[in-house]
């Protein structure tokens, strides 16, 4: 009874306390909540909650399961605001739950247009909140605002044409009074963009095309009219630095994916991170990880912001505003996030398409490592050394944790392709060197690729430890201030590791692949850890 009373009070609390942008900016002051996709605007996915520790984590037990009424992949990270959890049942149903019991408060069902053609699954990765309003991007490229109290739609803005292949997959990012999203659809020859919308009205405030148009800097990196179908998707949520007022976004691959012939040049700003003025959308700087990409190495990661001392070229250590970026191309990067200066790049998996960097931080390509009609073996393979599933940075351990596909390669085959609006625009395909069938069983040998959590020192890129799985992984990573690390994988386990050593401290078999990032929250002083696996969402807490 006590619990119920408390819960009601907690729920009532949410009715009064709106989520101001100040609360979002200072999310570290209320670690009981999880107010954004990454837990903060800095993208670390690191929680200050410490009730669950390496010593007691073995006492975690299941509190509740929410079974989605959907067989699409469950990739969303939930938000928790004062005891209420908000998540997305794929493709685009918003669910409000009691975060302590899993009971549903309300459901908002959105029916996407039959014209929607998301390339890679009818999925959604989560929500944003501001005030009493939730924001969701949809697979038919709408941005929808929903009343967080009753699930009623408030406005619905068409961001782009679904029938041309545009879609929205990621959780929006709120900055001040704006909601920022970017479009997916790079496999359909879209021209990608990031845009900000007025949170109250849904009216577009600014738009930044990830493929520069005629007269804009960077346009010269596209031969002919290739810029019109150049791709440049946005697949995951960006981050934000309030002091610099810059918002950072990873940009997807150029199109066609595997045949660069129709698009001679570096193809800016595909496979780059861009730093935009959050008020105007103007480009402040960019860094391109994979110029003229033909391996589908889009920069589909959350840029992670960190502040630490960095040793400069003169040997002096000075405080720097940094960005860490473990890229799909297999390389871990440290950049100066005020200027975009390339500070360090080091492979975190086997890489055979490049060897080192020039003075400006451009990768030096290895001759012959390009897709061909016969096929070329490239490390890492098409899914990359990592992908959209989030990494984590712990300021306590000073380590950066990467969901990794190790020893993984693809044979890249190139083919001619003509652009047709709304049709796939791939220019070839990647092939696995080993013909694994579609199966729920795992027959992999270690040298054919395996999933891992790799912990690296971001100052050097050196690996500190590794937790190996036998199957590959699509699971994000959460770290906590008690030096725990939570993750999962295709094997269906959800596990806790010692963030300092990688030792397994606890595990549970959830019976379905974890294809989302874990998050944590607290209600009435009790810490919970939640993760989606298979078609369900699971929440754990310490046994009482």
């Amino acid at each position: 009874m006590t619990t119920r009373v408390f819960l009601l009070a907690a729920v009532a609390g949410s009715l009064w306390a709106q989520v101001s942008f100040d609360r979002i900016l200072h999310a570290d002051r209320e670690p009981q909540n999880w107010l954004t996709y990454s837990g903060s605007v800095r993208g670390e996915r690191h929680s200050l909650l410490t009730q669950i520790t390496p010593e007691n984590v073995k006492n975690l037990e299941l509190q509740w399961i929410y079974q989605a009424r959907s067989l699409e992949k469950f990739e969303a990270t939930a938000l928790v605001v004062d005891g209420v959890m908000y998540t997305v049942q794929a493709p685009n149903d918003v669910i409000a739950l009691d975060a302590a019991t899993g009971r549903i408060f309300w459901t908002y069902s959105y029916t996407p247009s039959p014209q929607a053609r998301p390339c890679c699954g009818r999925i959604n990765r989560g929500l944003a909140i501001l005030g009493d309003t939730l924001f969701m991007g949809t697979i038919d490229a709408h941005l929808v605002a929903i009343d967080a109290k009753n699930g009623q739609p408030l406005w619905d803005t068409t961001v782009a044409k679904a029938e041309s292949g545009y879609a929205l997959a990621h959780a929006p990012l709120v900055v001040k009074d704006k909601v920022i999203v970017g479009t997916a659809g790079g496999e359909y020859g879209i021209r990608g963009f990031i845009a900000a919308y007025d949170a109250r009205t849904g009216k577009e405030v600014w738009r930044f095309y990830t493929i520069p148009g005629p007269g804009e800097p960077g346009h010269e990196t596209w031969g002919g009219n290739s810029w019109q179908h150049g791709g440049g998707s946005i697949w995951v949520t960006g981050s934000y630095d309030p002091e610099l007022n810059l918002t950072y976004w990873g940009v997807g691959n150029p199109g066609p994916d595997w045949n660069g012939d129709p698009r001679p040049g570096d193809n800016l700003y595909t496979d780059s991170v861009v730093a935009l003025d959050a008020d105007t959308g103007k480009l402040k700087w960019y860094y391109q990880f994979s110029p003229h990409d033909e391996f589908d190495y889009d920069s589909v990661q959350v840029p992670v912001l960190a502040d630490m001392e960095w040793q400069g070229k003169d040997g002096r250590r000075t405080p720097r505003k940094l960005m860490f970026f473990a890229n799909r191309n297999g390389i871990f990067y440290a950049l100066d996030r005020a200027t975009g200066e390339f500070l360090m790049g080091k492979p975190f998996v086997t890489v055979n398409w490049m060897d080192g960097f020039d003075a400006k931080g451009k990768p030096i390509r290895i001759a012959g490592k390009v897709p061909t009609t016969e096929g070329t073996l490239i490390y890492p393979g098409n899914q990359g050394g990592t992908n959209w599933y989030n990494p984590s940075y712990s300021p306590r351990t000073g380590l950066f944790y990467i969901p990794t596909w190790a020893n993984y390669s693809s044979i890249y085959i190139k083919a001619p392709e003509e652009f047709k609006e709304g049709q796939r625009y791939g220019g070839g395909f990647p092939k696995s060197p080993i013909p694994f069938g579609r199966t729920t069983q795992n027959f992999r040998k270690e040298d054919e690729g395996y999933g891992a959590v790799r912990a690296i020192d971001p100052r050097t890129g050196e690996r500190k430890w590794e937790f190996k799985m036998t199957d590959v992984t699509d699971a994000g990573i959460l770290t906590t201030a008690s030096d725990l690390l939570f993750s999962g994988g295709r094997e269906g386990y959800f596990y806790a590791l010692d963030a300092r050593t990688g030792a397994v401290l606890w595990k549970a078999n959830l019976g379905g692949a974890v294809a989302s990032g874990p998050m944590t929250y607290s209600i009435g002083g009790r810490q919970y850890v939640a993760v989606a696996a298979g078609n369900a969402l699971f929440s754990f807490a310490l046994r009482q």
Partner: protein, 253 residues
């Protein structure tokens, strides 16, 4: 990004370019997709639409694999052929199966052996039933061959008999492990994860082990099947292959 779900990437689609051929796994995948999506109208052999036989490698509107993929995915306007929401990878594996159907049709005509004699070798001298199973008879340790003739061409069967190590599909891999009490078990791998392993042993037991409790665990590099190159004469091999080609699956009552 092509956030391809695992299977799409991993079943290794070789689709657009015919000269790359199709692996048995791709053909198997294509067969499943064909039966689920195409056989309703085209029939299991591809000849059920009057005037349209797609099972013999000749197509009225396409010749290249990439054209076929486009037709499968986009349909043919003005005809009963609808568009299908399949990726080019999936459509490509269906094309792989159609190519296989055409090849195996010519296989049946070109098989020179005697299937009855082949069956006798299969059951007798070859001792194939000690590892394989056909229509409910024989061991379950190796692959069930009841429909091998619907899934493999003559050349592939000949190659597997002469050189069993030349291609071992991932689902037919064998592992060897040694338990804490020192007993060694060799069997076909059924599944594994970071903490456990599941296998099928020669006594036909479904076994599961915690990896932490094992002294040894390793994949076998070679197939447990012997080569029949020197064990059978050329004629016997031809007979055996013609028997295997004749195995088209268990007939439904």
């Amino acid at each position: 990004m092509r956030a391809v779900t695992g299977f799409v990437l991993l079943f290794g689609v070789s689709a657009l370019l015919a000269q790359h051929g199709y692996s048995p796994t791709e053909v198997d995948e294509g067969r499943k997709l064909f039966l689920a999506n195409c056989a309703v109208c085209h029939g299991p052999a591809g000849a059920s639409v009057p005037g349209t036989d797609i099972g013999h490698g000749k197509f009225r509107r396409a010749s290249a694999d990439s054209d076929l993929i486009q037709i499968i995915r986009n349909g043919i306007p003005g005809t009963a052929m609808p568009p299908h929401s399949l990726s080019e990878f999936q459509a490509g594996s269906i094309v792989g199966y159609l190519r296989f159907l055409a090849d195996s049709a010519s296989d049946a005509a070109s098989s020179r052996g005697n299937p009855a004699r082949g069956e006798a070798i299969f059951r007798g001298k070859g001792a194939c039933l000690s590892c394989h199973r056909v229509k409910g008879v024989g061991s379950r340790l190796g692959p069930d061959l009841s429909d091998i003739g619907a899934r493999r061409r003559i050349a592939e069967l000949e190659r597997s008999l002469a050189d069993p190590d030349s291609e071992i599909l991932p689902q037919n891999r064998f592992v060897r492990l040694v338990t804490a009490d020192g007993s060694a078990i060799t069997g076909r791998l059924l599944n594994q994860d970071a903490f456990t392993v599941q296998l099928f042993d020669p006594q036909e037991r479904l076994l599961s082990f915690s990896k932490a409790g094992l002294r040894e665990f390793a994949f076998l590099d070679k197939s447990p099947m012997p080569s029949y190159k020197d064990k059978l004469s050329a004629q016997e091999l031809e007979d055996l292959v013609s028997y295997l080609v004749s195995l088209k699956g268990i007939e439904k009552p």
